[in-house]
Amino acid sequence: MLTTTFPASTRAARRALSFSRRWNSTSAEPPPPGGHLPSIATSKVLRTTRETALRTPGIVWTDEDASGPSREIVGGRETRKMNTYQAVRDAMSIALSKDDNAVVFGEDVAFGGVFRCTMGLAEEFGRERVFNTPLTEQGIAGFGIGLALMGHTAIAEIQFADYIFPAFDQLVNEAAKIRYRSGGTYNVGGLTIRTPTMSVGHGGLYHSQSPEGFFMGASGLKVVIPRSPIQAKGLLLGSIRDPNPVIFMEPKVLYRSAVEQVPIDDYELPLGKAETLVHGSDLTLLTWGTPVYHCETALHMLASPGPSLEAHIPKSLRSAKIELIDLRSILPWDVETITESVSRTGRLVIVHEAGMTAGVGAEISAEVQRRCFLKLDAPVKRVTGWDTPVALQYEKFHIPDAIRIVDALVETLTY
């Protein structure tokens, strides 16, 4: 299968820089040449100071015992600036050093991985614990299941989420069902499958996909997608230690572009829990992974549209209070947080990169309309990739970018 290492997204960083200038400037400037683009590098969602990093909501320090001091006391803990791939590597390094039964394997992981997520792990922990497999996704998944059946911790990598389909049988028919079919006598809780996901600017059909929806019906599996380095480390450690097989999808465009101060200690973030990033009362905006940043940009655009957008955004909407939620776990998803929010706001917009038909948004909107029927003031709106493959030269018009999100917000607020 085609495997490509994507160079540092310097373009993205440049764009982000020009973008941040635009938003921090008080003088009216024309929009940047690329249009309104996500500002990952300057996102407010990212925690760039030690203080904020250590106060990440829901963080559980795994070196603290339950009877110890409150986790709000963070004195003495350190953080280090990391991008997402470094945070992923850090999580695996902790997992390997604390658990002798943990192994890391997949295609090209021994030299550090095509996205550098396993850099130096083979040298540090030895080739018996960090090793290459032949190029066979069904084999990688099956091998991981075998290890986990014996109570070992298997951290497997599928090089791109686009190539997880050969392993679909092993994951859906085997991994997901082993505990159930054996009456609880066998399980593969030790299995975690990491895989890079979502679009990257030029990935075309097979380096861009978001297949989380295909796994959403595979009861027995958990599916987790982080949005940032702190989230990646905490959710990955949580996934590795969860007593169930977990598919951990890492948005690949964030590997280098998203940078945070990441706590260096061992910590976990909870699976199955959404996180509210911006509180609001007029509309709930729900997303996960890369589109978190498109949504953030869209919120800025709604509040203060540049001259070119002013005509499209009625003045009355600019002060709308939008609640932004990162779903984080696709399966099981946090129905409580979402329905509580929608019951308050009366409006819901769901954003994801995968196509619309039978995507994750379909499941969530169906459940929300059932639970919040009397509270809804507008139809649930989905902003998603089109029901087409991800065509290379058309990506800008395919992904749900900030302008499409703004448009959906306006439509839903004015319904």
């Binding site: 032949p134 505990r179 006598t185």
Partner: protein, 447 residues
């Protein structure tokens, strides 16, 4: 290949002369006599290679020690076997058709939903089981109940699984009959998707290698049919267990049929065995109807697994005497006479019985006694299992996840409880069915 091209490009640039670079490459090739990514010798002859269909004499031979009437063949070395072991082998082999006959007929009467016999493959399965250590991890396909019986999995356990009753330790009545499993007997729960256990066996074997108490002591033994070997997972599993050295023994039961598909439509090469060397793994083909040959071959294969820490492949040649399953009538695609001939000419149990008799270890009286005893034991277990209830109906919803059950499963359990309260007494199909469950659904209704 890309690596080679790169090297050539580099040498060309470095020398600044294509001619000079060629000379270097030529010298290097002459010195090594092979290409950088292979140890293949260089030849000027244009010759295609086919070790399998090129010549019939080149077919991989079948290892056998006893002939059709239980006599050692010339030059054969019998495995070490004493009377006690021989008797256990024979009794377990005889137990299989006893169980098969009862359960096959029970299915025909509609008392269980499904069954698969092992008729004709008793020697392959029981012989393999006898040659493995009791705690070698076994991953099977579905026709390997004999391994469990050898290891002491009780007749009650067999019946409870097939009936899916409240004492089913294999899966709480969730899986179809013959999908056994028992961690205590180191037998991984059977699943229906074919060949998925093959790459899993590689992972299990690697875990054994990484477990200090089992390293160099335990192997993973993986059974599958010749039809399953056509799945991609066969390729993946053998590839993995040879490349990432893992002590996995792959045992192919080549019984000539995958449901209706004869093996001639399954592959064009020399069976499954011919594929082993392609993966760089030691391989043997054995007469699967000769229990002593199976024992010798599996013992040696197991020894090699442990010694090399790598995969070994064994192909056991047998014949599927029974139908594929109770859902299959095999006379739709093969002649009844063909089956009858095979049963008469080459019955693995009869062959071993003749050997036992030649050793003075068995006689007709013992045969009568054994058959009566086995039948009685099987019927006793059958009657016991038949009368038992199923698990509590709430078990429909447990074990999907470890740890806390997700909200959707909790809610759906409540939804079924509500529906049962509403319709459990009035909707006849449910009322009849609920009566078969332990506590008649009170675990859901009561809460």
């Amino acid at each position: 290949m890309i690596r080679n091209l790169k090297l050539a490009a580099i040498s060309r640039t470095a020398s600044g002369s294509v001619v000079k670079a060629r000379k270097i490459c030529y010298t290097a090739a002459r010195r090594q006599e092979h290409l950088p990514n292979s140890s293949s010798p260089i030849t000027p002859k244009l010759e295609f290679f086919n070790s399998v269909t090129g010549s019939s004499e080149k077919q991989i031979p079948t290892y056998r020690v006893l002939d059709g009437v239980g006599k050692p063949i010339d030059g054969a070395e019998l495995p070490e076997i004493d009377e006690a072991l021989a008797r256990k082998l024979y009794e377990t082999m005889q137990l299989l058709p006893t169980l098969d006959n009862v359960l096959y007929n029970v299915q025909r009467q509609g008392k269980i939903s499904f069954y698969m016999t092992a008729h004709g493959e008793e020697a392959t399965i029981v012989g393999s089981a006898a040659a493995l250590a009791m705690d070698d991890e076994v991953l099977g396909q579905y026709r390997e109940m004999g391994v469990l019986l050898w290891r002491g999995f009780s007749l009650e356990n067999v019946m409870n699984q097939c009936f899916g009753n409240e004492l089913d330790t294999s899966g709480k009545g969730r899986q179809m009959p013959v999908h056994f499993g028992s961690p205590q007997h180191h037998f991984h729960t059977i699943s229906s998707p074919l060949a998925t256990q093959i790459p899993q066996a590689a992972g299990v074997a690697y875990a054994l290698r990484r477990t200090p108490s089992r390293r160099s002591r335990s192997i993973a033994a993986c059974f599958f049919g010749e039809g399953a070997a056509s799945e991609g997972d066969f390729h993946a599993g053998l590839l993995l267990a040879s490349t990432i050295p893992s002590p996995a023994l792959f045992i192919a039961r080549n019984n000539g049929f995958a449901i209706s598909t004869p093996s001639t439509e399954q592959f064009y090469g020399d069976g499954i065995a011919s594929r082993g060397p392609g993966y760089g793994i030691d391989t043997i083909r054995v007469d699967g109807n000769d229990v002593l040959a199976v024992i010798s071959a599996v013992r040696e294969a197991r020894r090699r697994c442990l010694e090399q820490g790598r995969a070994v492949l064994l192909e056991a040649m047998t014949y599927r005497v029974g139908h594929h399953s109770t859902s299959d009538d095999s006379f739709a695609y093969r002649a009844r006479s063909e089956v009858e001939d095979r049963k008469r000419i080459d019955n693995p149990i009869a062959r071993f019985r003749l050997f036992m008799e030649s050793q003075g270890w068995w006689n007709a009286d013992e045969e009568t006694e054994l058959k009566a005893r086995l039948k009685a034991n099987v019927m006793k277990a059958f009657k016991k299992a038949e009368g038992l209830k199923r698990c509590e109906i709430g078990e429909l919803f447990t074990d999907v996840y470890g740890g806390e059950q997700p909200w959707n499963i909790k809610e759906q359990r409540e939804e079924l409880a509500g529906l049962l309260k509403k319709y459990g007494e009035t909707w006849e199909p449910w009322r009849t069915e609920l009566a078969k469950f332990k506590n008649k659904g009170q675990d859901l209704l009561g809460r």
